[in-house]
Amino acid sequence: MLGESKRLLWSMFARGPGAACGRWNRCLSIALSILSASAFAQPAPPATAPVHRFYNTAANTHFYTITEAEKLKVQQTLPAYIYEGAAFNAYPTSAATAQPVFRFYNVRTNTHFYTIDAAEKDFVAATYADYRLEGVAFFAHPSSVAGTLPVYRFYNTATRTHFYTISEAEKNAIVQSQPVFAYEGPAFHAFAAAAVSTVPPSDAARFLAQATFGAKSVAQIDALAQGGYRAWLDAQYATPAGTPHIDYLNAIRNGGDRVDEKHAYEAVWQQFLFNENQLRARVAFALSEIMVVSNIAPDQDTWALASWMDMLYRNAFGNYRTLLEDVTLHPAMGYYLNMLGNDKEDPAAGFKPNENYAREVMQLFSIGLVQLDPDGTPQRNAQGQTIPTYTQADIEEFARVYTGWSFAGGNVNDAHQFDRVAENWTQPMRAWPSHHSMGSKKLLNGVVLPAGQTPEKDLRDALDNLFNHPNVGPFIARRLIQFLVTSNPSPAYVRRVAARFNDNGQGARGDLRAVVDAILLDADARDVSVLAGTTFGKQREPVVRFVNLLRATDAKAANGRNSIWWLDNPDDHLGQSPLLAPSVFNFFSPSFTRAGSIAQAGLVAPEFQITTETQAIGSSNFFKRVIQDRTFGFADIGRLTLDFQPFVDLANQPAQLVDRLDVLFTAGGMSAVTRTALLDMLAALQAQGRSRSERVRAALLLLFVAPDYVIQK
C-alpha cells in the first residue's frame, strides 16, 4: 500500500491536464445521491464520530472534517463550500489499534490532502513545499478490522487533488464514468456513517419551509434529515409534471358536473394540498406570481386557467426559454395581455399593434426596467441614475412581433378566420401570416429582424433576444429567491444563482432545475447563523401559511377534493388567492418596502404590501375560524376537515405539544417569549378544565399569528 500510494502521490505532480473538470456538476450529483444512500448503513461504534464532507464549488474539490466546530465555521464563513453530509465515521481521538490520519493543506491549490501512512506523511512534508502539515485530522484503521470498510482514494487529474469515499457504489460510478479521476485504492479503513441525520431536523424543517408549503409531519422532516437534501431534491425533480389541473376538470366533467371558475381554483389547491410533488408546486406557484395571469375580472376561461397551471408545472424544472415561449403562446396569457387577436398595424384605419404584452414580458417576466449587474444590483450612469433596459420605441417594435396570433385550430391561411376561429383555450396560439406585421423590427442590443420573416420566426428570434439579455439571470434569480428564501438576498447570493442560470455547469443557459438547486443549496439559504440576525428571511405568503396549516393537520374532504375558491378578500379571508392577483403586477411588488425600520434599513418586504391593518386582522380572523371550526370549504361538497388528533394526543404534555408545534411550524426556532406564552396559556386553560382539543386549537391559533411563524427565517 505504501509503495503504491507514494507512486500515485507523485503522479499528482506530473503535468496533468490543466483544464478543470467540465463535468463536475454531474459527478457531484452522482456522488451526492450515493452519499445520502450510505447514511442508512449499519450504525458505527459509539466512540466514533461523523467525518463531514464539503464540496468546494470554487475549487471543484472536497474537504473533510470531524470537528463540529470547524464544520460550523465552514458553513458560516465559506459560502463556496456546500455541505454534503457525513462521509464516514472515524475516531475523533486516539483509540486502540487506530492510527492517526494526517491532514495537509496545499497552499497552491487551497485544498486538503489526507493520509494514514506515516511514511507518506514524512515524505510529503519533506519533499513538497506547497504542502503544510496541519496535524491529525482523525483516527482510523490502516487495514481492515471488524466493522470497518475501506475508504477509497482518487486522484483528480484535472484539479490535482484527492477525493475520498467509503461508498462502494460511488467508487464504482466514478471509476466507470469519470476518467478524470484516477483510482488509487483504499486510503484507510473506517466506519460507514451512522444512520444518524445527515442534516439536523431543525435544518430539514427550515429547508421544507423554503422548498415546499411547509413541513407536513415529523416523519417527513426525519426522512429528509436522514436522506439529505440531495436525495430529496432529486426525488422531487423526478416527479412527473403530468396535467393534474386539466385532469381535475376532466374528472368533474366526467362526473356529470358543469365545470366552472371555482373548479380551476380547486384544481390548484388540490395539488398544493394532496400532491407530494411539493417542490414543483411551490416553484410553479412562485412562477405564477412572476408571470401573472389573473381571473380577478373574472373573464378567463376555466380550462385556460387549468392548462396554464399545468404549463407552469411542466416548466418548473425545465428551461426558462421554453417557459417564456409557452407563457407567450398560452391563450390564457394571450387573453390577459392581449396578444390573442392582436392585429398588425393599419395606418389607414388608425390602428397600431397592441403594446401590452410587449411591455410586460420585458418589465415583469424577463429583463426588468433597468440594466442589472450580474449580482442583480442596478447599474448606474455617471450621474448616479439607473439605466433603462428599453424605450417606448423598443416596445413599439416588439409589439409588432407579437401580431397575428389567435386560437389554434383554424386555417391560418384564411385571413378571415383570424378573429372568427373557434376558441381553443388549452393549445398554444397559432399565427396568421396575413395578420402579422411583416416589416423589419429593431430589437434590443442591436438585433434587427429582417422584413418578411414568418410570425413564428419573428417570435422565436424576439424571445431569444430577451432570453439572452444579461439581465435575465439576476432578474429571475432574485425573484425566485425572494419567493422561496429571503426578501433581501445578498448580491453574492444573487450572483451565484444567476451564474447557474447563465450556465448550469454543462454549458446550458436557463436551466431552472439548476437554478432551484442553486437557490436551495446555497450557503446563504442553508446558513443557520442568520437565525440570530434581524433581516434574513421573508414573510410567509398567506396562501403558503394556509396550505401549511391544512397539510400539517392532514385536512381531507369526504369526496377527496376540496372547495377552496376565493380567498382574496382581505377583510375576512387571506388577501391573496391563487390565480386572483389584482393585476399582472401580482399581489405585491418585489421592491415594496414597509415604512419604518425596514425602509430605513434600505430593505424590501414584498409580502408586506398586502399586510395592511385590514388584512392582518382579516386573515388572523380567518385562521381563527378555520382552526376553531376544524373545517373549511365554500361548499359542503368538498369541505375539508382538519385532523388535530396527533396534537390532541400530546395535549396533556404541554411541553411536548409546544415542541411538536415548534418543529413543524417554526423549524425549531420558536422564541422563548412565544414558548412561555403558549405554555402558560396551556396550563391556564387546563386549569379551567378546557378540553384537550380546545387547548390545542388555542395554541395553534396563537402560533399562526405569532411573528415566529409568520416570518420565515
Binding site: N338, N342, N354, E355, G537, I598, V673
Partner: protein, 453 residues
C-alpha cells in the same frame, strides 16, 4: 455598496432636508380650527381620459372622432354635456355613463383638470423628442407611473407620498394621529409621509379581531396574545408584523366607537367596491369630532382601467358609471353631513391612454390625463389646465397619441395643499420644487363653516 449610495443620495435630495423643512412648516401653518378632508380616488390601470372628457363642439368632436377612430370614438349624442363657464368657443362632455357626476359639475360643485401628469420640468414636444429637457423615468410603466403620481416626485428616489407629506404638517393638530391618513383600499404610497403613515381600514367597516377582547381581558388566550404582542422583537420583519397587528387592535376600538357614536348616514351608495369605500370614508368623516381630527386624507381606489383589449368600451363604461355614481353619492353624503365645502375628492390614475385604437380595439399606455375634482369648495363647472390637441403627431403628442402633460402632478397637489392652508412659500418643501399654479381653484371655507365644523 450601491445601495448605500442610493440611500445617501435620497437623503441629500429629499429625506433629511425635507424632514427639516416640514418640521419648520408644521410650525408655520399654525393652528387650524376647522375640519378639512381630501379624498384621492385612484383609478388603477390607467383610465382612458380621452373618453372621460370629450369635446362636443363640432370642430372639437370631429377632431376627437378622427383621432380615436371607429373602435373607440363615443357617439356624440350619448355624451353627458357639461356647461362649463370658462371655455369660450369650446364645449365638453363627460362619458355617456357619467350623468350623475355631470350634474354635479353643472351645479358648480365639480370641475375637470385637463392633461395632467408627471413632469420633471415644463416640456415641449420638441424638447421631448430631442431629449433636451428632463423627462420622468420609466414613462408608460404602470408601477412607476403609479409611484410618480402618488409621490409627485419624478426625479428623486424619495419614497413618500404627497398625501402623507401634506398630513405631516397637521399631524400634531390631530388628537388621533392614526386617524389622519386612512386607506380604504389597502396599502398606498400616497398616504405615507415622513411621519404620517397610511392606516388601512376595512371598507366593510368591521375592524375587530375575533379572538382578543381587550387590553385588560384576563382569559388565558388574551393574556398569552398580549404577551406575544408586547415583547419587542429584534428581527425587523417580526417587529413589522407585530406593529401592524398592534396598530390594528388599538385603532379598531377607536374607529368602531367613533362610527357607532356618529349619526347614521341616509345617503345611498352604489353597492360596489368603490361605493363601500366611499361610504365608509363618509362614516369616518361623520365621526371626525369624536376622533378629534382637523385634517384627514383618504385613499380609495377602483381597478380595471388597463383596457388594452376589445372590451375597452364596455369595461370602461361599467367602471366610469361606478365612479360617477359613487362620487356623486359621496358628495351628497357630505352635503347631508354639512361638510360639503370641507371635503374635496379628486381622481388620479397611472396614466392616460394613447389616442388611436390598437390591434385589439383597446388602447395602450399613455401619459397626460384628464381628472375630476368634486366638492363644495371646488370652484366648479370649469375646465382647468390646457386641453390637448387630439392629433397624433400634433403639438401635444410625445408620439403615438400620448399627451405630454401641460400640468404637473405637483401643481395639481399644490391646489389642495393651498386649500388645506399651506402657504405658497411653503409649497417647495412639500413638492421638492415650487409648483407653478395650475389655476385649479378650491376655495377656503368661510368662517361660518369653520365654526360649524
Amino acid at each position: 455598496m450601491r445601495r448605500r449610495e442610493f440611500l445617501k443620495r435620497g437623503a441629500a435630495l429629499g429625506g433629511a432636508a425635507m424632514l427639516g423643512d416640514l418640521g419648520r412648516i408644521a410650525h408655520a401653518v399654525g393652528p387650524v380650527n376647522d375640519y378639512k378632508a381630501l379624498v384621492c380616488v385612484f383609478l388603477f390601470g390607467g383610465n382612458d381620459g380621452n373618453n372621460l372628457l370629450i369635446p362636443r363642439d363640432a370642430a372639437g368632436y370631429a377632431e376627437y372622432a378622427r383621432g380615436r377612430g371607429q373602435r373607440l370614438a363615443l357617439p356624440l349624442q350619448d355624451l353627458q354635456a357639461l356647461n362649463l363657464t370658462n371655455t369660450p368657443g369650446r364645449q365638453f362632455a363627460l362619458h355617456p355613463r357619467m350623468g350623475q357626476l355631470a350634474a354635479i359639475v353643472n351645479q358648480g360643485k365639480a370641475a375637470a383638470l385637463a392633461n395632467v401628469g408627471p413632469l420633471s420640468a415644463p416640456l415641449t414636444r420638441a424638447q421631448y423628442r430631442n431629449q433636451s429637457a428632463p423627462i420622468p423615468p420609466n414613462l408608460f410603466s404602470h408601477s412607476d407611473q403609479q409611484f410618480q403620481w402618488q409621490t409627485s416626485i419624478t426625479d428623486s428616489p424619495m419614497r413618500t407620498g404627497w398625501g402623507g407629506r401634506l398630513l405631516d404638517l397637521y399631524l400634531a393638530q390631530n388628537q388621533t394621529p392614526v386617524a389622519s391618513a386612512l386607506s380604504l383600499a389597502g396599502r398606498s404610497t400616497f398616504l405615507n409621509g415622513a411621519q404620517a403613515s397610511g392606516f388601512s381600514v376595512s371598507s366593510s367597516g368591521n375592524f375587530g379581531l375575533d379572538f382578543y377582547e381587550s387590553d385588560t381581558a384576563t382569559d388565558p388566550m388574551s393574556v398569552a396574545f398580549r404577551k406575544i404582542l408586547t415583547v419587542q422583537r429584534p428581527h425587523l420583519f417580526e417587529a413589522a408584523w407585530l406593529d401592524t397587528i398592534s396598530r390594528s387592535i388599538v385603532t379598531q376600538r377607536l374607529f368602531n366607537g367613533a362610527i357607532n357614536d356618529a349619526p347614521a348616514l341616509q345617503t345611498q351608495f352604489p353597492n360596489t367596491g368603490l361605493g363601500d369605500q366611499l361610504r365608509t370614508a363618509a362614516r369616518l368623516i361623520a365621526a371626525r369630532q369624536s376622533l378629534g381630527v382637523k385634517r384627514q386624507v383618504f385613499f380609495c381606489s377602483l381597478g380595471g382601467f388597463d383596457t388594452h383589449g376589445e372590451d375597452q368600451l364596455a369595461d370602461q363604461g361599467d367602471n366610469l358609471e361606478d365612479l360617477s355614481g359613487s362620487l356623486a353619492a359621496f358628495y351628497n353624503a357630505t352635503v347631508e353631513l354639512g361638510v360639503a365645502a370641507q371635503v374635496t375628492a379628486f381622481t388620479a390614475s397611472d396614466f392616460g391612454r394613447d389616442l388611436p385604437a390598437n390591434g385589439n380595439g383597446g388602447s395602450d399606455h399613455g401619459w397626460g390625463n384628464h381628472h375630476l375634482i368634486v366638492g363644495g369648495a371646488v370652484n366648479g363647472a370649469k375646465l382647468y389646465g390646457r386641453f390637448p390637441t387630439l392629433v397624433v403627431d400634433g403639438p401635444d403628442d410625445s408620439g403615438g397619441g400620448r399627451w405630454i402633460p401641460t400640468t404637473a402632478i405637483d401643481e395639481y397637489g399644490a391646489a389642495f395643499a393651498r386649500w388645506f392652508g399651506v402657504s405658497r412659500g411653503e409649497l417647495p418643501a412639500l413638492f421638492s420644487r415650487a409648483p407653478v399654479t395650475c389655476g385649479l381653484s378650491v376655495r377656503p371655507s368661510r368662517p361660518a363653516q369653520n365654526a360649524r365644523r
